[in-house]
Assembly symmetry: C2
Homo-oligomer: 204 residues x 2
Amino acid sequence: MNYPSRLIEEAVVEISRLPGIGKKTALRLALHLLKREEQQARSLADAIVNMRTKTTYCSRCHNIADQELCAICNNAGRDASIICVVVDTRDVLAIEATSQYKGLYHVLGGIISPLEGIGPSDLHIDSLLSRVEKKEGRDDVNEIILALSPTMEGDTTAFYLQKKLKATGVKVSTIARGVPIGGDLEYADEITLGRSIVSRVAYD
Amino acid sequence: MNYPSRLIEEAVVEISRLPGIGKKTALRLALHLLKREEQQARSLADAIVNMRTKTTYCSRCHNIADQELCAICNNAGRDASIICVVVDTRDVLAIEATSQYKGLYHVLGGIISPLEGIGPSDLHIDSLLSRVEKKEGRDDVNEIILALSPTMEGDTTAFYLQKKLKATGVKVSTIARGVPIGGDLEYADEITLGRSIVSRVAYD
């Protein structure tokens, strides 16, 4: 495409490097910014650079953080005896949005995937194991919840972690898999439905 | 949502001010940038600010430009006797992509819309009329093509321009409306199909 200005073209090229944004959408966004106050473009640019340059990772759970520890690890009201293992920060946000969990997290930073060349050593697994170790002056960790996607990679990673954690003697659990709430049984796939029968829960 | 870091939250807020980008997509884009090289975030930010602060508008056709005149008005190979009137730069790009037009453009910068409070005086209509005026040392304009969307606002604007241009004696035409090429007649709406019969074109 022949862009009317080199500056627009450069902006379109940079914006379209973002995932899920093509050249047409990038042009629409660029022309939108051109029509708005100059301050909006500056604020956007500043927020992007600030985020990228100043954000760090929590030294304990590897979640995104502003300081040494993330807001969750820093919160004395959280139950330090349970750790929920997730792949990335988006999973932390998704679980936080449920308001059903008050423990801490551990962000693996990825998932075991031989196809993509990601092995256990590329993930934050050693630091998870050392968090489980009993140490004086620190609350004992009683339970590890694996909250990984029910995919091939997720199951492989869960299997690996389970084996590693067994040696430490900590209780390991996984989030329940079954028919989604609000979903019609008729439309549940057979693997999920089968699993939900095998993993049935007795009424108290 | 509880963001893990204030910096992420600020970036999400700024990114989600762009049209068609919600909070979830903004978060996905922010986390993507966090994983990439710092340079990518800086290039994106610089391109946005440069585009917004340095882009100007062509003093003749109001298209986006790097200099006093846009690349199209500056191109001596274009036919200066025809002007195609469009709403915005995206329309210019769409027509340029067809490679079927070698004349100049005139960007109105909007469309007459009483509902949104946009009247003729908010558009670049006066400068269009003065471009049509005969002047010494300048090529005469022989034809004005109105390339406006076949909507209520587009038709209103076309009607207004037609009346104004009539006084100057210049030939005024509109882009053809009819069944889209590659489309099935069966699926064409009745108004378009009706118009395509009324505006039928005789074989030479």
